[in-house]
Amino acid sequence: MRYDDLLRPTPKGVYCPPGDFYIDPVGAVSRAVITHGHADHARAGHGAVIATPETIAIMEARYGDDFTTTKTPRAYGEPIDVNGVNVSLAPAGHVLGSAQAVIEKNGVRIVCSGDYKRRRDPTCAPFEVVPCDVFITEATFALPIFNHPDTGEEIRKLLASVEQFPERTHVIGAYALGKAQRIIMHLREEGYDAPIFLHGAMQKLCDLYMKFGVDLGPLEPATIENNGAKRDFGGKIVIAPPAAIQDRWARRFADPLPVFASGWMRIRQRVRQRGVELPLIVSDHADWDELTQTIKEIAPKELWITHGRDDALMRWAELNGVMARPLHLVGYEDENE
């Protein structure tokens, strides 16, 4: 069986002809395997959805219970037969419930990793290396300049700033699914046990994480008093969607210090453009070393590259004798942008 006969790129996303399903399609389809709950991968309106129970719960929280006609939750490692194609899910370490889709038929195995990272994340299961013929990788941070620093050190940078500027409110821009909860958990690990204040858009997903056993500690809404008076948030940590930290919403804080948690904070120009005063380089995607190490570990016969900076990864593959091709998929966003 040719690899292309099992899985191939189409304008709607990666498609499996014998199984008649898509992986993370960008438009509505009759059957979809969803790797994780981020909006560009998990869309509403499919006929049937196969995903981890966590991802299904996340989609329900975002789109309502009727986001699809049929839901097929599958835990990691619990296979399902789809028209003679064996589909199973393996942890991807990206966000809660994130999975690599492992597709097998006639002795050919293709792993579509979705988005992934290799470093420890206290809010989700770690990436699992699955040997395969074709490994489909993302390339969000596929340039040698992206080497994400130790997450604990970034969090300690934040705590040092809170101590240094106790009159200011540290308002952290973080994606509502995954990044926010991860930052909270790392803060807890560093011993920060005070309440953390949340933008309204964060609450639902934090509750969901708690339900799945991720103990986020004391959380409070970052609301103003009923009479509209400003509350004193000096010295407090607030988490909000990236777009809110510099918008009118942030005016409720007397002296906000804009913080942004993202892998893009490695690039100084990006930091300045956003008016961020304290960048935290924390990403849910693999950095250059993680990407190249993962490919070396898996040693697939072919490497397929989805969204991101595929030209640099193609060059690396060429230098390292790895057969590779770019899929040129459209519709997937760069992290948090």
């Binding site: 340039l143 040698p144 300049i145 992206f146 080497n147 620093p149 940078k157 700033s161 240094q164 500027f165 510099q246 918008d247 009118r248 919403w249 942030a250 005016r251 002296d255 906000p256 804009p258 490695r266 690039i267 100084r268 120009q269 930091v271 300045r272 453009q273 956003r274 008016g275 961020v276 005063e277 304290l278 960048p279 900076r309 030209d311 640099a312 060059r315 690396w316 230098l319």
Partner: protein
């Protein structure tokens, strides 16, 4: 090295002056000698590494990394030092992390041939932020938005001293300033400045209030023009000749023509300006001409001839070994007049006094100054000694009324810190033919309430977005007119309109005025100095 890099990272991104001061002061408290002293020298850009050049860095990188991958990285980042700091494939954690002082001391002494190996070994030992700090430091590209004045203010705050004390000492000190820190921490006496031709902290004036006018009379006060140049102090003692800015920075290297003229033994306080080489001496040219000579390390022969500098003397602080600063202004002035008239020093003339019988005369003089290079009046108490800083009730500045022009808001950008959620930085323009061309930018002059109104206007009238910038509606039938006040105007080839304003700010928001009635470029050009 890590603490220094962390400090730089925060300083670059912290817009508030107070925030910067606190970051630096905390760093001084947490960092031992000699590292903190070298950090000061790095910030004030008093370190020079002649053996390291950017081309060398590029070739170092190409030895370590596939050129195509490096090119892709460099294209993405756009800054050589930053790209290398991030992409350097170091043998990481193979080395101990060197302190800043070691990096500075070894690289300063390094020969051309040994510098590449040394830089490579430091890049191996360091993490990206420290690598960036290292590369920016050694290539002289450390621009972090901290003036040497701010660094001195931080030293003063750290030691609870007055900043003029630091300024006075500064040029007698050498990095890493261990004596200075000992004194600031109360562990030693104040260092004695033994350098010849030291800086003597400048005396400054208060803006004149209506109340102050009542006490001013020719019997007790003198008036002179406030010239539109740069306040300086020219000092020649022993073999040393120096030209200082009013905050004590040595700017002599950019003004060899002034330094050559210091063939006396004195310290003169005055205004540095450019004179017209074609006209009778010394006919001052505009501030824009002076800018051609400022903030440069060296100056070309051509520029020296086309933009010669001179000093219009205000005061005499020291002469032939005598310190005159305790004398009343009246007496110092007499000595200054005698000094200038008897020695006729090249490149110096006397700032003339403005005679007056009463305050009305002064008001008239201020309204009709004799020269475009006058920005107002200085009024000085005859009995005032020369005191560092801004003493009360001694000197006043009475600035000319600003220029006013009605402009149309074109673009807006968000501010920083407290203003980060507000569109508070505005680009405005005037009519040229049927178009509106940008003529300047302003981000102050309005109240908090007005800021809210401006912000609302921007959000409700956005027509386009370019990254952080919003374009607002403007044209013959729509747009917001802003009355802009500014202090002066220069020709500028960098601006589309050909003119550049000094200190523009929003004087009034003209909600009532239609954009079609805003001013035209011709009216602005008419305000240019001839």
């Amino acid at each position: 090295m890590q603490a220094f890099a962390a400090l730089l990272d925060r300083l670059v991104l912290t817009p508030q002056r107070n925030g910067k001061l606190q970051l630096i002061v905390d760093y001084f408290a947490a960092t031992p000698d000699p590292d903190r002293g070298y950090a000061v020298a790095a910030i004030t850009r008093d370190l020079d590494f002649p053996s390291v050049k950017p081309a060398m860095l590029r070739s170092l990188m190409e030895k370590r990394m596939d050129p195509e991958l490096f090119a892709l990285s460099y294209n993405y980042v756009g800054d050589l030092a930053e790209t290398i700091s991030l992409a350097w494939p170091g043998e990481r954690r193979a080395n101990r992390i060197p302190p800043l002082s070691e990096v500075v001391e070894r690289l300063k002494e390094a020969k051309r041939a040994e510098a590449p190996q040394l830089v490579a070994s430091y890049l191996d030992a360091l993490e990206p932020p420290s690598r960036w700090a290292l590369l920016k430091l050694v290539t002289g590209g450390l621009r972090i938005g901290v003036s040497s004045r701010l660094a001195k203010s931080a030293l003063a705050r750290f030691g609870d001293k007055d900043v003029t004390e630091i300024e006075e000492l500064w040029h007698g000190l050498e990095p890493p300033y261990e004596q200075l820190f000992s004194w600031l921490e109360g562990r030693a006496d104040k260092p004695i400045n033994q350098m010849a031709a030291p800086f003597r902290p400048a005396m400054l004036a208060h803006p004149l209030g209506d109340k102050d006018l009542e006490d001013i009379a020719p019997e007790t006060h003198a008036a002179e023009w406030k010239w539109d140049g740069v306040r300086v102090q020219a000092v020649a003692e022993g073999d040393a000749r120096r030209l200082y800015s009013r905050t004590g920075d040595d700017i002599g290297a950019a003004f060899p023509d002034i330094i050559d003229a210091l063939d006396f033994r004195a310290a003169i306080d005055g205004e540095l300006m450019i004179f017209d080489p074609e006209a009778e001496r010394y006919h001052p040219l505009s501030f824009g001409d002076l800018q051609q000579r400022l903030n440069r390390k060296t100056v070309s022969k051509k520029r020296l001839a086309s933009h010669p500098a001179f000093i219009r003397a205000y005061d005499l602080l020291h002469v032939d070994g005598d310190d005159l600063r305790a004398l009343p202004f009246e007496d110092r002035r007499q000595k200054l007049e005698k000094f200038i008239s008897s020695r006729q020093p090249d490149r110096f003339d006397l700032s003339p006094l403005v005679r007056f019988a009463n305050v009305d005369d002064l008001a008239q003089a201020r309204a009709a100054p004799p020269h475009h290079a006058v920005e107002g009046l200085m009024i000085k108490r005859l009995a005032a000694p020369y005191v560092p800083g801004r003493p009360k009730g001694e000197w006043w500045k009475w600035k000319r009324d600003p220029f006013l022009i009605d402009c149309v808001m074109m673009y807006a950008q968000r501010g920083h810190g407290r203003r980060s959620s507000f569109y508070s930085d505005f680009t405005f323009g005037v009519w040229r033919g049927d178009d509106i061309v940008p003529v300047g930018k302003a981000y102050f002059g309005f109240t908090d309430d007005e800021l809210k109104q401006l912000d609302r206007f921007v959000r409700n009238n956005t027509t386009d977005r370019f990254g952080p910038v919003r374009q607002v509606a403007f044209g013959a039938d729509e747009g917001l007119v802003l009355e802009i006040a500014f202090e002066g105007l220069n020709r500028s080839s960098r601006h589309k309109s050909g003119v550049a304003m000094r200190f523009p700010r929003i004087n009034r928001i003209r909600w009532d005025k239609p954009a079609a009635e805003a001013d035209r470029l011709e009216s602005l050009e008419a305000m240019l100095p001839s």
